[in-house]
Subunit: 362 residues, 2 copies
Amino acid sequence: MKLIDPWGAELPEDYTSIIKDFGLEHFDPKLFPEANRVMRRGVVFAGRDLGRISEAIKHKKPYYVLSGIMPSGDRIHFGNKVVVENIKYFQEHGATSTYMLVADLEAASARGVTLEEARRRAIEFHIPAYIALGLDPKKTTFYFQSENQKVLHLAYEFAKKVTSAEFRAIYGTNDPGRVMAALTQAGDILFPQMDQRMPGIIPVGIDQDPHLRLTRDICHRTNEKYGFVAPSAIYHKYTPSLDGDLKMSKSKPESCVELPEPVNAVLKKVKRAKTGGRDTEDEQRKKGGIPEICMIFEMYKQHLIEDDKELDKVYKDCTKGELLCGTDKANACNRMGTFMEDFTRKLEKARNSIDKLNFIRL
Amino acid sequence: MKLIDPWGAELPEDYTSIIKDFGLEHFDPKLFPEANRVMRRGVVFAGRDLGRISEAIKHKKPYYVLSGIMPSGDRIHFGNKVVVENIKYFQEHGATSTYMLVADLEAASARGVTLEEARRRAIEFHIPAYIALGLDPKKTTFYFQSENQKVLHLAYEFAKKVTSAEFRAIYGTNDPGRVMAALTQAGDILFPQMDQRMPGIIPVGIDQDPHLRLTRDICHRTNEKYGFVAPSAIYHKYTPSLDGDLKMSKSKPESCVELPEPVNAVLKKVKRAKTGGRDTEDEQRKKGGIPEICMIFEMYKQHLIEDDKELDKVYKDCTKGELLCGTDKANACNRMGTFMEDFTRKLEKARNSIDKLNFIRL
């Protein structure tokens, strides 16, 4: 059996096979009115129980959106940006409530980060960064796992519902820290239903599907007591590495852009990115470039060009041989520089209003 | 490797081999001034780091005593009585603080008892029962695991310090509920040191040694951050089954006395207990009985006769053939009846003053 490891570096070979192997639904943007850029362009590619959320949006029924912050580093990546864009979409399309949890206990149990350090990083960076990327803080309830007693109680109760063998089948490990982290995530995901049962949507990277499967299993096993609605999920693809690999990774810093990074450093990386250019300028003018394998185009598609017509023009100019890689990279640098400056400015602004956020406290 | 399973029914064949196999210390009552009945009579038979506690008592240095209540049933057994007698001993011999925790999260994660049910049982029965058996409530701090945030935070932090393989080596299982329960126990055991590092003594049945080993391992692994003093433990033997087996068990109700039980039911069981009597009365008058294999004598030794001289007289009268089993069982019934009535009366009294206890609350 293939495993997706939410803590590991293992990469799925092919998104289509993931959908088949794990019984996911293909994401159909038609289900979601005014689908956002990442939905329209296939960056969001799969999900679970999407119809339930589509119905809630169309018929204005209650549902919640929830995501988590892992405060183990002091930078984030483009994947987090996609998550925020999806949260924002649901915030603008009828979500009754939005929960952003800080997974400080997971950081402690699975990664060895102290609670104090996790708290500091979340307050100083991660939460402001999510707001800078578009999260609407006024519609969002924040909490630290370590301060949400109901979540912890659910985690302990759920522990009795899962065997060691099942855990290993889902996660490929039984490490105590990961067991506790996963059960706590299940508590997080279902906590919003403690007051009212309703559908919930969890926008995450595909590597987080194991947590969703565990949580959905637990829903069925606690159905008699709780009757939780099994949570829905939408999954986005990895942001590809600038060298063409499936996933950006800090292990190859020259092909990985984190948020924030100094603009100069980023531009150097963009200039070295893999493109769909031909061997010679002459050949490229004749045959055109191949945007399908170009990491610059992929960055446009996923992150840097909002307008579909504008993206289409880049595609056509490239394939017609009118837009060459040098010019295109210069354009990309402009866009990336603008994005990074904008992000840094908004981050600073969000930091200054951290006291006004709505936190669940003990 | 042999395992002691704190959740299971597996019985160690021989206490001496347990001491050897698990690297325990023989319990030496001379280390403890005014050793209590169960210490003097070998019911307490082993321990870990006992010298540290002996020193603290003799030199009036700070140390704590901690034990836990598992609120999964609505009766307790004689093993709990031994625990309380040992707690009482330390309360009377200089313990700076006493903690009694209610393992409600363990009841949920390892046994599937809801937190509400665990709380009800603890308040209505277990805590009053411990007080009825001699726990000094004025010197005791109580808490529910589910309400002790510091304990939970320690549990998550400790999770990162133990691997799945180590867990299986200690417990013979990796079941998520047991993993969480065990790590939470480690948090409980070390929580009293959060304000001040000091030795602590944990009086428990020998089947609880795995928790102590885990906790002591965790102390070493978190030494740089916390510098916890590794906890000491004293272990008592199982109360033997009235039919002569090593351990009383609810699975054989006719040979098991729980607390409380209706006096009439108990007396019936006592009358059927295995003794060290001979085949005929004549033979017994000539050769004397064998108290070493008599469950009535074992109940005297462990629980029903406080005075050493009185116990000695029973021993001699039996071995001289002057005290026959019929008379002895009638005496035992008297003592058991008195004990059970006394316990029931004190239980009622303790129930009525439950509001005055010192609880840690969120």
